[in-house]
């Protein structure tokens, strides 16, 4: 990563809360080495929400697991650095990392159905989180705090709900309880790993709202992992787009929607349902993501790309993540041709539908 990009990603002069640099994660499997994350870099400032978008298997979840030191065998962080508030997380022992997990960095997992222990009451699981990091907190205090937390995320009659088991909660309520648990120790960084994927569409909005309110109250920074650009538009300040274990584009949230500079981002945008396009088929990106088992030279998006498909440059040379504007970077050899692609793909679709 060049210094220029570094400066861009760091944004302002302030030292970032978390800075991930050239992160590489590999999994050894019987079929070979899976290159899950290949040189991912991003920064996040205090209080900021960073969205990470990408399709399944693009390395989003693994990247943030690596931040928490939670990549488990056969996975291994093989290169790069993770610096959280001045601490080099990769050099810390598991014992030291445990002091961060749940206290300074908290995870809102993807599936609230399976992320609570089904045979332990919700309240007991929340108080465990509290007392694990604050052994001086008495059971009664922890209980009071837990009930207050449940109330703050909008769980009705929290006093009673506190002693109920996960199966007595609805899906949305469980995810809200998860959020309550995650913010129990006022973490500096909240990692929300597809917090709404397992939920009903009607519940999704509620949960996002709770998440947003909670962030506002606790002043935490958040990494929001999702493949839903709608969620990104609603919550994120800045966006990182990942593809095949790499960052292919980053920028502030407006720029991603108004001036995307990577064909993959355009592909994601054209797959987004829009009110204007009622009755039309959604466009899918042709093909599948490359297998993470083999690493080909050149751009990993090339086989699916409408600009660079078959292009010798794209095939032969991996595009670097270059700065192309204020806080905006793209890993595309032909990023200057992308606006044209937007004209061709996104805009006519909208126009066409209006003409009908």
């Amino acid at each position: 990563m060049t210094d220029a990009v570094r400066g861009q990603l760091v944004g302002s002069d302030a030292r970032p809360l978390l800075s991930v640099d050239d992160l590489e994660v590999r999994f050894s499997t019987p079929d070979g080495t899976v290159h899950a994350v290949n040189g991912v870099s991003f920064d996040i400032q205090r209080g900021e929400t960073l969205g990470i978008v990408g399709e399944s298997g693009s390395g989003k979840s693994v990247s943030v697991r690596a931040v928490m030191g939670l990549v488990r065998p056969p996975g291994k962080v093989t290169a790069g650095s993770v610096v959280f508030d001045g601490n080099d997380m990769r050099s810390l022992s598991q014992r030291q990392l445990r002091k961060f997990r749940g206290r300074r960095i908290a995870l809102v997992p993807q599936d609230p159905m399976t992320s609570f222990n089904p045979v332990v009451p919700i309240g007991a699981q929340i108080t465990e989180m509290i007392r694990l990091h604050d052994p001086d907190c008495s059971k009664e205090q922890a209980r009071a705090r837990g009930i207050a937390l449940l109330e703050s995320v909008g769980v009705p009659s929290p006093e009673r709900r506190f002693d109920e088991y996960p199966h007595q909660y609805s899906g949305g309520m469980r995810q809200r309880a998860m959020i309550a648990m995650a913010v129990a120790n006022s973490p500096d960084l909240l990692i929300a790993d597809e917090p709404t994927t397992a939920l009903d569409v009607t519940i999704q909005a509620q949960v996002l709202e709770v998440l947003q309110d909670t962030l506002r109250e606790t002043d935490s920074a958040m990494i929001l992992i999702t493949h839903d650009l709608g969620v990104i538009a609603e919550l994120a300040d800045r966006v990182v787009v990942m593809y095949a274990g790499k960052v292919v584009e980053y920028s502030d949230v407006r720029t991603i929607f108004h001036n995307p500079r990577h064909p993959y981002t355009v592909g994601l945008l054209s797959g987004l349902p829009r009110v204007e396009l009622q009755g039309q088929k959604l466009t899918a990106i042709p093909g599948n993501p490359p297998s993470a088992l083999q690493v080909l030279p050149g751009c990993s998006f090339e086989p699916r790309c409408s600009i660079g498909n078959g292009d010798p440059v794209c095939r032969g040379e991996e595009p670097p993540l270059a700065v192309i504007g204020e806080g905006h970077g793209s890993a595309c050899h032909y990023h200057d041709q992308v606006p044209e692609l937007v004209e061709r793909v996104l805009i006519p679709a909208v126009k066409g539908s209006r003409d009908e």
């Binding site: 928490m68 939670l70 598991q94 014992r95 445990r98 002091k99 961060f100 997990r101 749940g102 206290r103 908290a106 995870l107 997992p109 599936d111 399976t114 992320s115 609570f116 222990n117 089904p118 045979v119 332990v120 465990e128 989180m129 694990l132 990091h133 648990m181």
Partner: protein
């Protein structure tokens, strides 16, 4: 609302009171609290609906009570020799007769129950504990630790346990402690396999990952999330081990390597049946300890089966 006037609900009464407020204290009762059925209560209900299991449990409880209160139940002591009453058949004085030293068979039977039941229970609990620890560690840590523990389990399982325990008793001298220790050390593999299998499936569950993400140590994950889930099925295995331990103890004592006379155990009471005359002419000497062993083992197995069904979460 005593008047016949119909008015929409919520409309203020002429005196300004709300109709709804008025009706609430005339006694619309809050719905009765729905009775919560805890997992424990459900399990108990499933257990009690199994007649054989209940019979087994009652039988064992009865034995425990009888054995515990033995001193108050019989006028004799188990070591009390009365050479006048030598191999007497059952009579009003000696309900189950007397043995070759003129000791009261019923009394010895009750006192022997203390020994046999506690050996069975202690040995099975020991084996269960060893199995729980080794099995869950093997499942949790995996890799080489897992292979070493589980291959050891295979080796232990491939020995005929009775022979091993006899060797053990021969080496360290037959005593209650030796038997319990030997049984615990050689009966753990069944328990450890159960514990390991469950641990393997549990450790991949998302709530375990979530527990790690809140900063739980591996040890904490084990104690808090793995062990509680492993315990119910393990309890079934331990119950069945109790039956097995009682059998092994009886066999050992019968052979003279177990509980040493004059202390009575059901097994060594059977020793007398080694003589053909006694076997054919004095059934009271061996029939009662023999059938007690069989009935106890049967009862324990019934309880084990009942427990298995009761703790199975897939049953309603």
């Amino acid at each position: 609302m005593s008047d016949h006037e119909v008015r929409p609900p919520g409309l203020p009464e002429p005196d300004g009171k709300s109709v709804l407020a008025g009706s609430s204290d005339t006694g619309v009762q809050a719905p009765a609290q729905i009775q919560r059925r805890s997992p424990g209560r459900l399990a108990l209900r499933r257990f009690t609906s199994n007649r054989l299991a209940v019979f087994g449990a009652v039988f064992i409880l009865l034995l425990v009570v009888l054995a515990t209160f033995a001193p108050w139940l019989t006028p004799y002591t188990p070591q009390e020799v009365n050479l006048q009453a030598y191999r007497n058949p059952p009579s009003a004085e000696h309900l189950l007769g007397t043995d070759s030293s003129g000791r009261d068979v019923l009394t010895r039977l009750l006192y022997a129950g203390r020994v046999s039941l506690s050996v069975g229970l202690a040995a099975a609990l020991g084996a269960g504990l060893v199995g729980l620890i080794l099995g869950s560690v093997a499942g949790m840590v995996g890799g080489r630790v897992d292979s070493i523990i589980m291959r050891t389990a295979d080796v232990v399982l491939s020995f005929p346990s009775l022979v091993i325990v006899i060797v053990f008793a021969g080496l360290f001298g037959p005593s209650l402690r030796t038997i319990i220790l030997a049984l615990a050390l050689f009966e753990w593999p069944t328990a450890s396999r159960i514990a390991r299998g469950l641990t393997l499936s549990l450790r991949e569950r998302e709530f375990v990952e979530a527990a790690r993400a809140i900063g739980s140590s591996e040890f904490r994950v084990m104690v808090r999330h793995i062990v509680p889930a492993v315990l119910p099925p393990l309890a079934v295995v331990v119950t069945l081990l109790v039956a097995q331990a009682i059998l092994v103890e009886s066999a050992l004592s019968f052979l003279g390597y177990g509980v040493q006379p004059p202390t009575a155990s059901w097994g060594n009471m059977l020793t007398e049946a080694q003589s053909l005359t006694i076997l054919s002419r004095m059934p009271w000497l061996w029939l009662s300890p023999g059938s007690l062993i069989a009935l106890t083992v049967l009862a324990v197995n019934f309880v084990g089966d009942g427990l298995r069904d009761a703790v199975d979460p897939n049953q309603t």
